[in-house]
Symmetry: C2
Amino acid sequence: MPRPGLLNLITDVPGLLVGHVTDDTVRSGATVLRTDGFWAAAVDVRGGGPGTRETEALAPENLVGRVHAIALAGGSVFGLAVADGVVAALSAQGQGLALKPGSPAIPVVPAAVLHDLGNGGDRAWGLEPPYRRWGIEAVAAAAREFALGRVGAGRGAMAGHLPGGLGSASLDLGDGLVVGALVAANPIGSVYMPDGHTFWAWPFEIDGEFGGHRPQGHAPVVDPLPEASRLADLGRLQPGVNTTLAVVACNADLSTAECKRLAMMAQDGIARAVRPAHTPFDGDTVFALASGAQGLGDGRARAVQLGRLGSAAADCLARALARAVHEAARGG
Amino acid sequence: MPRPGLLNLITDVPGLLVGHVTDDTVRSGATVLRTDGFWAAAVDVRGGGPGTRETEALAPENLVGRVHAIALAGGSVFGLAVADGVVAALSAQGQGLALKPGSPAIPVVPAAVLHDLGNGGDRAWGLEPPYRRWGIEAVAAAAREFALGRVGAGRGAMAGHLPGGLGSASLDLGDGLVVGALVAANPIGSVYMPDGHTFWAWPFEIDGEFGGHRPQGHAPVVDPLPEASRLADLGRLQPGVNTTLAVVACNADLSTAECKRLAMMAQDGIARAVRPAHTPFDGDTVFALASGAQGLGDGRARAVQLGRLGSAAADCLARALARAVHEAARGG
């Protein structure tokens, strides 16, 4: 039976490192996922208010379809500068495309941001928002072990009306394939069922990784705008740009187009862990990465394996989402 | 609190009629949704193996973005001819675009099909597959009340390894807005949790509409390729083209682009009711229709209402999926 990997983190996928920068004054942060090579990648955007960079380079019909890193940040549009820092840092280390001798290495670093500007942090940054610098620092911090909860790109996040955060989970399929997910959880919807303490993701929980609550009451879920969602407030209270930013990764030899299917299936993990999801106000964005280490074979059996990986990626993402909020509530 | 409409069918949305043709010899059928005007519409395709017609006409950036009917059928590619019959029947009644005096009325009838060719029915149709004729007959059969289960486009469907079928559900939001869903459920994934009898959609069930089972055991869901899914068999047993075809509808004044968001959010209903969903082998396709009868206002409040409708559409679709399989099991 499949089991979480050693760390129950996306970095159980060999070759992947994660680094956070967390600023408690700004109440924001950044998270970088760094690959040990030029990994196949794709992205699937399903929210109505996304903030992204270099996503078009990942379309299966376009040229690149591979990445050296993925950068996530708070800060809404200001946060997109995180990728400037990551690009500079990786290039300085010689990581990137070498198109011409003597030219700087050109790293491919897609990025996505969530909106945390309304959380009361200090944004008196004038002409120097900190996100570019944080990109450089996050590359230096990248490691296999990393914290969950109110850290990195999840530092300033909200999940419905509750603190959001940074979550991760992994699944070792037992046959050499490993899948993982990382998420910065800032959804407008609620991660809890109407009882207020059972995660929507409860069926997928392994070993009490997000508290072990199970549904007791059986009231039907009929209100499409639950109180625990911020959607009900949007008309009267606050501006809202809300987003679940996610990365799923595996060690299979997926093409860019297959990574796209992985990202699409992984979106179902958001659907299962958050209600409502994919609203006009969310920026739900899922990146998918594949290291290429494990061959999947070909033909129909390959497509079956891709479906299996996609199903595992959706489960990991649902678990990571619940872990993000669970760890945030623990002050993690 | 929102409640199902009078019939708990998509036809609780005023102006919508549904007609089935069911053939127990061919073990297939067709279902037509007929509007009482030229309704705004969009489509969202998320499966890896779709079979569709006239979907490009519904892209928000294209010209038409409205429909006179939606046609669903079994029969894989042969089933697409159902739209020929619907187009002919509606035009003969004078329904359609009148571009020039004396020209026939031009109905806009997008269609989608599911694969049921492997279910042992009689397909010795040579040069005359029955789907075009069924399209004509389904238009004639269209009514507010219609059957669920092994009927229409769901007649030959399978849900995982169990009989699939045709389902529907509605939600009256209590303020004049009504949402409904109709689905032909032929997913490769399972609609049941690992206990084998609790629908994934159970949290959304209203008044025992699909049997009232609740989860008792709490074993974690870790196998990405559950036995109750056909995905595990694909490598060794059978060809597979598997699909959840759905239509969601409401009575709001949505634009084509807003219908697209409604369809996108409704896909989450498939994600919540079926696991795995949106695999390379599914053709998951959701159409969204809006009659325009109820104004939603404008600005941010309008987008909030759109999110509310999308959330309700996802719930209705999850309920309709469970009802399809529940009614199919009852021999409905």
